[in-house]
Symmetry: C2
Subunit: 169 residues, 2 copies
């Protein structure tokens, strides 16, 4: 379930990548710089779109590493353009997809630290997945969605959900 859940989080990043194409097309059609959307915020004291993407990426990269006994690759938060945002998503997804299912054996028994955790405190593997990875990933992906949606980009909930594995009844 660790493997499948983290794969679903990576899928959310791929969905986000597809919204970038719509953002770019919208900016071109309305003749404004797509950088306006990249710097867009929902509130003045909230982080901009690019930060939301960087943060979403890190909340998917980290569990793929820590829960498989690896140290996460370092990705600098230096993105400024839409193509750099695409590249950040791509290298994150590539790393996550490099981790095979059997590497998550023992994930439940791992203890995971967070830089902002209370002193001397960590999370067990299951809680790290359920209370940290999933809520944070979806939070930042959804805030990125909200910035674009609020600014008129033509995305809808099916773009948020992405592919669905329908099977015969």
């Amino acid at each position: 379930m660790y493997y499948r859940m983290i794969a679903q989080c990576a899928q959310m990043l791929k969905n986000l990548e597809s919204w970038l194409d719509k953002a770019e097309a919208d900016a071109a059609a309305k003749k404004f710089d797509v950088g306006v959307l990249m710097a867009g915020r929902l509130a003045p004291d909230m982080k901009p779109f690019i930060y939301q993407v960087q943060s979403a990426c890190d909340y998917v990269k980290a569990p793929a590493a820590w829960l498989s006994g690896q140290t996460p690759p370092r990705h600098e938060d230096a993105e400024q353009t839409i193509d750099e945002v695409r590249a950040r998503i791509r290298k994150t997804v590539d790393f996550v997809e490099s981790v095979k299912e059997d590497q998550y054996a023992g994930a439940s028994e791992r203890k995971i630290g967070m830089s902002w955790a209370p002193a001397g405190k960590v999370l067990g593997g299951g809680d790290y997945l359920l209370q940290m990875t999933i809520p944070n990933t979806f939070f930042h992906v959804a805030m990125a969605y909200a910035v674009l949606r609020h600014n008129g980009v033509d995305i809808g909930k099916m773009d948020f959900l992405g592919p669905v594995n329908w099977i015969d009844a």
Copy 2:
């Protein structure tokens, strides 16, 4: 994992319930009707706050029922006031918490239909949890958050995350 994941989704509804208190306090302090926030939207062609809550509730109620072999209780979408929104969350959480862990035995083998699925198509239990329940629950909870945050309610990411089970390192 079904049990724990659906419990985490129910926790997100409880977190949302706590934002309502902040929304109410904010409206009182700034002397406006909190109903303005209940009807708030991120975009003119997007559903309002109350709908986001109703939808989040239904995306948590349904898997608790279908994945445990039950029919979901019917909850009319009739809420108009903040107290009615609180009651909708409360009855949803009460139902979800009435389902015990062992009732999810066999959840993986269940096939779940959606009213808007392609003709003759359903989802397997795992995909229903990962591709439908979690993304939709977090989508609607996050959109509710975004409406409040965009309108100046003093909520932050720790309000979104809710309780975290820190343990000793």
